[in-house]
Symmetry: C2
Subunit: 318 residues, 2 copies
């Protein structure tokens, strides 16, 4: 398992690379692209003037343009790093500026809706290779990114049937250069897999934090003070970007509702086991869930350190 | 916020301290008690011969006895560090061995049931001061403990009305010596607070991991590979000790079912918002949950580091 980014490439993978949207993901790609020399020229844009100004100060791109179309003009590859709900709008903005052979990719957590929203705006002769790096933190914005965010994480590509193999290959190599492992699947299957590994987990985390905040019998101050009993773990992903996550739920509705249905069904069974004092049913579930974590640790997607490696004060010497 | 344990006490807080059960919590108390010299003599016992043997090897107590009654005999303070469901049995074992004035405490995550189970076995003239340190990791057993586990955590005491003030005070000073902050409340209120800050979070974590493991449309290997999208956070508390947690749910049934009812009600509203495409309702919830995490970080119960401080590879230098 690599511990650091590879040295810069001898030869850039793409000529002109454009990134639209410089939040956590976009700014992490920018930093990695700079460090690894993935492109001859890195041009970026963002709808927010504040973000554009900040990116200039951070110096994480060769050029910051006012509009997404300027960034995309003559680009060999354009990556949309905006909330899923904004992908269609950005595609409409850049469509006319794309040169023949340009690759358009994205980083959205939902893929079917992105293909449907972006595809119609792309001129013939350009290539759509949707991507989803399964990586992130709970922080947002251009200051939150870092070059090693994708190291040892998976990036899922969902090229529609008939996509140019060369375009898919360049996209794959870009993610592999950033330290990611690449898997290819259909957009539909992606959306089902991520509904259970990411979307429903976020939904129930947001939900429990909301429930706890709204109680009358337990104060918010008590919830905060005694959160180390488990609750605080949920607050991390419930601190994720609200716009991004609103868009995820609106654009992956069917898969989320299906997985949520399963979750609710299983929770009702647990609720019943508690009500009727069925200790055996509880123990059986609680004993088998350990194996899943062990599998996640074994393939390097999680730390084996207790408590995620949170610090518990300095070691005592005796 | 102290970063390390205090130096050893000039004067021990108790003469003979007995710990029954040397799992994560018991063995952490033993290590802290040794380091801090909380007692003149530290005597421990555990129902498992393997654990007793291991504790002898670890050398984290002055004496390891075969039975809990031997450990409790002549003890000034006995702390039960066993699953909640075992507290009554242990209390029955030690009741006859307790000397007048002895303090009996515990570390259980449920308090009403412990008072009900333990109280009747304690002879007149002894003092029951139930305690719950809100601290832990997902690991179990005598090797998992460490002396700084309680540093900057809360320990909740629930002395029944009429409890000897001196006994409560000794218990308070014991936890404060180990670096914990102490709060006193009724057992009933404790059980309600912990139902939302700990018990229901554990239940939904166990549940989502179980749901994910049982799907037909997404393989277990996919769940494991793509877990960094949020799911893996839940696997940590779903790797907690199954016996301990079975007992928690069986013995805090009413409060858990009440809080679970609230959780389900709120989740149904979110589900409806997704089905009907109500982006505003989703955004509103997702935006206000951030404040709770900020509060938890501000009082030092959580790290401000992204992703719980998980490592993301070594820093790049440029």
């Amino acid at each position: 398992m690599p511990e650091r980014l590879a040295p810069p490439l001898a030869e850039p993978l793409v000529g002109r690379l454009a990134l639209i949207g410089l939040g956590l993901i976009g700014s992490s790609i920018a930093r990695a692209a700079q460090h690894l020399k993935l492109a001859d020229r890195l041009v970026v844009s963002d709808a927010s003037p504040e973000v554009r100004a900040r990116v200039r100060v951070l110096g994480i791109a060769d050029e910051v343009t006012e509009t997404s179309a300027e960034a995309a003009r003559d680009a060999d590859m354009v990556i949309l790093c905006v909330p899923v709900g904004a992908c269609g709008t950005v595609a409409a903005e850049i469509g006319g500026a794309l040169k023949p052979g340009a690759i358009v990719s994205d980083v959205g957590s939902v893929k079917g809706a992105v293909v449907a929203a972006v595809g119609p705006h792309l001129p013939a002769g350009t290539h759509l290779v949707p991507a989803h790096p399964v990586a992130g933190t709970e922080y947002s914005g251009p200051d939150a990114g870092f070059a090693t965010l994708f190291l040892n994480r998976w990036s899922i590509l969902t090229p529609p049937e008939g996509t140019d193999a060369g375009a898919t290959d360049v996209t794959r190599r870009l993610w592999e250069a950033m330290g990611a492992q690449v898997e290819i699947m259909t957009a539909q299957h992606h959306d089902l897999v991520l509904a259970i590994t990411s979307h429903v987990p976020h939904l129930i985390a947001y939900n429990i934090v909301g429930t706890a905040a709204d109680l009358e019998t337990v104060t918010q101050s008590e919830v905060i003070k005694f959160s180390a009993g488990g609750f605080r773990d949920f607050t991390r992903i419930a601190a994720s970007d609200p716009t991004m996550w609103r868009d995820v739920f609106l654009s992956n509705k069917d898969a989320v509702l299906e997985m949520l249905g399963r979750f609710n069904e299983d929770l009702a069974a647990l609720q019943r086991a508690i009500r009727w004092g069925d200790g055996e049913a509880l123990f059986d579930l609680f004993a088998r869930t350990r194996a899943i974590r062990r599998g996640i640790i074994d393939i390097g997607q999680e730390t084996p350190e207790p408590d995620f490696g949170r610090r518990h004060g300095e070691e005592t010497t005796d």
